[in-house]
Symmetry: C2
Amino acid sequence: MAHEVVWLRGVSSGVGRPPRHTRETVTLAAIHAADRDGLPALTMRSVAAQLGTGGGSLYRHVASREELIDLMVDHVAGEYLLHEPSGRWLDDLVALAVQGLQIHLRHPWLTEVVGAPIVGPNGLRVSEHVMTLLDEHPANDGQKLVAYAVMNALITSFARAIRSAPDPARTEAQAAYLAHVLARGEHPHLAALDPSTARQPDDVFPEAIRRVLRGLLDDDRGDR
Amino acid sequence: MAHEVVWLRGVSSGVGRPPRHTRETVTLAAIHAADRDGLPALTMRSVAAQLGTGGGSLYRHVASREELIDLMVDHVAGEYLLHEPSGRWLDDLVALAVQGLQIHLRHPWLTEVVGAPIVGPNGLRVSEHVMTLLDEHPANDGQKLVAYAVMNALITSFARAIRSAPDPARTEAQAAYLAHVLARGEHPHLAALDPSTARQPDDVFPEAIRRVLRGLLDDDRGDR
DNA sequence: ACGCTTTGCTAACACTGTTCGCAAAGGAGC
DNA sequence: GCTCCTTTGCGAACAGTGTTAGCAAAGCGT
């Protein structure tokens, strides 16, 4: 009840038995385990075992599994490298989005995290930077926030599309069903799709995000 | 082992004890339960109880909980009403996206479903329709698929943003932390955000999706 | 009426997040 | 040095989850 949010809860108070792990230690171990085994395999007991301790011991540093995941998300949000604005806001935003995609590829479990967007210290730091990049842009704040939200949505969406290969069983079964239903002759437009024009998602990403952001923020064209 | 995909598995074979529930009955009960109680509360035992039976009985109709969710997703994908193309592909796509948003608001658990995109019969039907709408568009198939994927990503993203209100405790705590860190004076651009320009997400959605799709598919402007 | 096949149900298993009580470990005060 | 006192570690326990195995029940064809 002391503080309902993690980011406002202080660390150890100095008096009493000194803690063997800090909140950051637990977070790092959890990130490492999730990077290797995926999010579903991230159980309290497994990260505790990686720290050489018991399952319930983690609750001294973390209120719940959900809160641990919040900490993980905000921690990897610290991997963004925020450069000085170049004066070309679109280039800067695209570069930032590419960074976000790379972070998602480094930590594939990020795409499985659903919940509301986490606004920890590092997340706020990135948000502040985005608003800095758009400082001199004439759009109003609502439009800027929408563009930022869309950018984040596309990052996770593309990351999810890219890392759909590692589940070959499911993909293959789906492909078999797709071939079966296409052979039935319905869905002519799907059957006529030209696979040669389908480029890899991570190849299309920079151009796609550029066009999307331009469409949202740069309208030097009429309303229709 | 008979058929690895749900959509290719047949129904009852006629001989033997007649089944008391069909696969669709189970799916409908699960959708009803999820609409009311949310996805985390959707346990095998709860939908079984709603059907007046035991927990393990569901596995006669459904291979796993995951497969049940796949069935639910494809079922609600059948709620799309697909009209004849009007000749204005952008208008038609925006109308389709608005339908998708309404479906997500009718079934809030949809935003919590993560996994790979389900391509069941109804999902393929929608995909075929989208390709029909874009039939005469000069873009290549790769660009069209990217636009479709982006459209779906924005639908779930906006739906998630809209239904973030029903969790007031978490939202309020986050707002308290936000106010605290803004009071510290860092993040000046975030502090300077004008709340009056922030419109409701469901209000901005049609215009946002129109601009995004236009940016992706309609480039009558130079490359820069 | 009798097999045969398919379904329903219960109990069980392995596992999950989370809580509780008690032992352990170090600093402050004398 | 020895106590107190606060904080942490730990193991067992609890309620709940998805999933499986074995057996009883219920219709059809002969």
